[in-house]
Subunit: 414 residues, 2 copies
């Protein structure tokens, strides 16, 4: 397909994706699901699980493999713009009284699921349906542990924002713990990949680069941008040149964190957190929000659905293992985060909300699973089990969370 | 490259493109050029003409062929969003007193350059440096005529908007004539391609589909959307669901006109023109404008520069022909449109402005030339001559136009 052919097909895909998201949004809002889940379901409907099995020819025409990289990049663009906006709403000041909770929750949210995942890996390391013969037990343990400790930071962030909690101390706590877990899981994955490839540089780049990036962005760039913030505060509006500069910094941060393999989400969020507060941040949100939310971000959540293939878990023993994985994932993540939050002094309701949010795996899980599958570490059956776990934890999050915190619509969502 | 690799490289390209546009914007604004030209120049600097010849390895790393389709699609996305906005500013009512001028200018702007191009083609049809041996004289005449009658509608629209003329009757006249010429040139090209491929369906789809599209969008969709416009007028703000619906219609229009080969620009512009006026249109502009102008649209103009390879016109006889082509192109387009506007009763200054605007060829010319080159109708030397003409007419437009109308910054541009 020529670039021209690709753009024709892309416009058709975009129209279809927007129309499907509108429909699922109408239906699933009544079922107590959030907009983000309805977008993931739109992706499942348009993907191999429904459209692909009902009308394979139509599906192959509408979503040919050649357009996948384009959908992926536009999804990533939408995602980093969104995480940048979430970053501008993130207020370290709100966290002051709760930094201990954030540290304990994120530590528990990494360590406990990792240990439970490692135990599960020890239990089933020899099974040829799950791991390929070339995978050693040590590698299985590391990979399973990393895969269990994933948190869907973009989904957590979107729920926090959709519920109007971004500027509350609970929201700041969840965002801080989520972003720490997100970056920690990618660092663990980098260690796993380094040990598989006997290339320690991967881990050194990821961990050293990640720490360096955070120090430079928050310690150097943030104070440097402060005069710009005062100028915009005085002028009352953001000029085009400053908006372009901010977007350029965002792209640079997304590129750097992507390149060192701790994922663009973290870079975009931190870059947003480094932007001057007040009028500057408000004008950034006003300029970037509507098109990002209405057009670009849905590609990200739809893309994750497009890549979800349900129905591969099809024998009783695999169902049993899937139930075990789901139980371990929820106990290790939601349970451990709840206990950690309670130990840090959070009230029951807030601790439950945090645990629920941290439990969603979303697309992040699919990314790490695809790495494992494409490098021949795990087999399709284990892939399907883990996908089932990711979908279940993701779908469960919104109803539980909205029951705890009601349905509001403030913050970034108009 | 995996989708992940592509997105990493894309973020780097995006940062580089935004930074280069900021720099060229600063420099070329002082030289009397508009933002749109400075973006095209940024593309030339980053493309084969400068970066590619100074540092070929770096250039190959930064802009690998695999990312071209992605840059193209994002450029197209930015372009259709922009043309949609221009469409929402287009006011048929302003045209009422000047519809005769619009008809005469657009007719002259198609017919005269086509005839001059055909004469030039007759003059040099046998030259093997220019046309491939397989091209018949009739085909050479049709292709050359179509290539000469191109108008860079997106560039014309952006200049009109940058100068704050979109809501004036002069702006409406230029937009109407530009869009008519744009769609007419694509219809002529469809006839050319149909005659080359002995496939009359191409021409029937393009012409029949284009007329049908205009009738349905303006005759059926526009009245259907009116109640929505009244609701938004009463509510005072655009809700997310309505914004998504408008964007979905835009994508559908872009897809349809692209698929019938009269190009997405026309579909996006007409779809914008069909949107309810007043608060609805103003809210669309407010929601879509900032991110489109700051992030997405620059990809389109940079992409056109990235694909411009200067320096292939390198013998005296080719220089002579290039001068002849440039003369014929300017006389046929700028001259004929000026005369037509004067005959229709326009004042000298407005007629000159219209002629200047219609003369810019921009990226549209490159698209048709690439079709001719890739299908083996023309040779690289003729391609280079026509590219030189396109660049010269494009660069000349802004200084002449701003001399006539001064520098303002209203309308879409903040």
């Amino acid at each position: 397909m020529t670039p021209y052919d690709l753009s024709v097909r892309f416009f058709l895909e975009a129209a279809l994706i927007l129309a499907t998201c509108r429909l699922t949004g109408l239906v699933f809002a009544r079922l107590g699901q959030s907009q983000v889940v309805s977008e993931m379901i739109a992706g499942v409907l348009l993907g191999p699980s429904l459209l692909g099995s009902l009308a394979p020819d139509l599906s192959a025409y509408l979503f040919p493999p050649e357009t996948r990289p384009i959908l992926y990049v536009i999804a990533q663009l939408g995602l980093v713009l969104y995480m940048f906006l979430v970053g501008t709403e993130f207020d370290l000041g709100l966290l002051r009284s709760r930094w201990r909770s954030a540290a304990m929750v994120s530590a528990a949210g990494i360590v406990v699921p990792f240990v439970l995942g490692a135990l599960l890996a020890l239990y089933c390391a020899g099974d040829p349906r799950l791991f390929s013969p070339a995978t050693t037990t040590g590698q299985a343990v590391l990979f399973f542990g990393a895969a269990m400790s994933i948190t869907a930071f973009p989904m957590l962030a979107r729920l926090i924002v959709e519920q109007g909690l971004a500027r509350t101390s609970l929201g700041a706590l969840a965002l801080a713990a989520g972003s720490l877990d997100d970056v920690a899981a990618w660092m663990v994955l980098a260690i796993v990949l380094a040990s598989f490839g006997h290339a320690p540089a991967i881990a050194i780049y990821a961990i050293g680069g990640g720490v360096l990036f955070a120090l430079v962005v928050l310690g150097v760039l943030r104070p440097l941008l402060r005069p710009l913030g005062s100028r915009i505060e005085a002028e009352g509006r953001l000029d085009m040149a400053t908006l372009v500069t901010a977007l350029m910094l965002l792209m640079l941060g997304a590129w750097f964190t992507d390149a060192i393999q701790i994922y663009a989400v973290f870079g975009a969020f931190l870059m947003g957190a480094a932007m001057p507060r007040g009028r500057f941040a408000a004008e950034l949100v006003r300029s970037i929000k509507p098109l990002t939310l209405a057009l670009l971000l849905p590609f990200f959540f739809v893309y994750s659905g497009l890549n979800t293939r349900l129905g591969l878990v099809n024998t009783p023993s695999l169902w049993l293992l899937a139930a075990l994985v789901l139980l371990a994932a929820t106990a290790g993540k939601a349970g451990a985060c709840y206990v950690a939050a309670r130990l840090a002094g959070e009230p029951h309701r807030d601790a439950l909300a945090i645990g629920t949010l941290m439990n969603a795996r979303g697309l992040m899980e699919l990314i790490i699973l695809n790495i494992g599958l494409s490098r021949g570490l795990i087999q399709p059956a284990l892939f399907a089990i883990m996908v089932t776990m990711a979908v279940a934890t993701t779908l469960a999050t919104t109803p539980v969370f909205t029951r705890l915190h009601g349905r509001r619509a403030e913050g970034l969502v108009p």
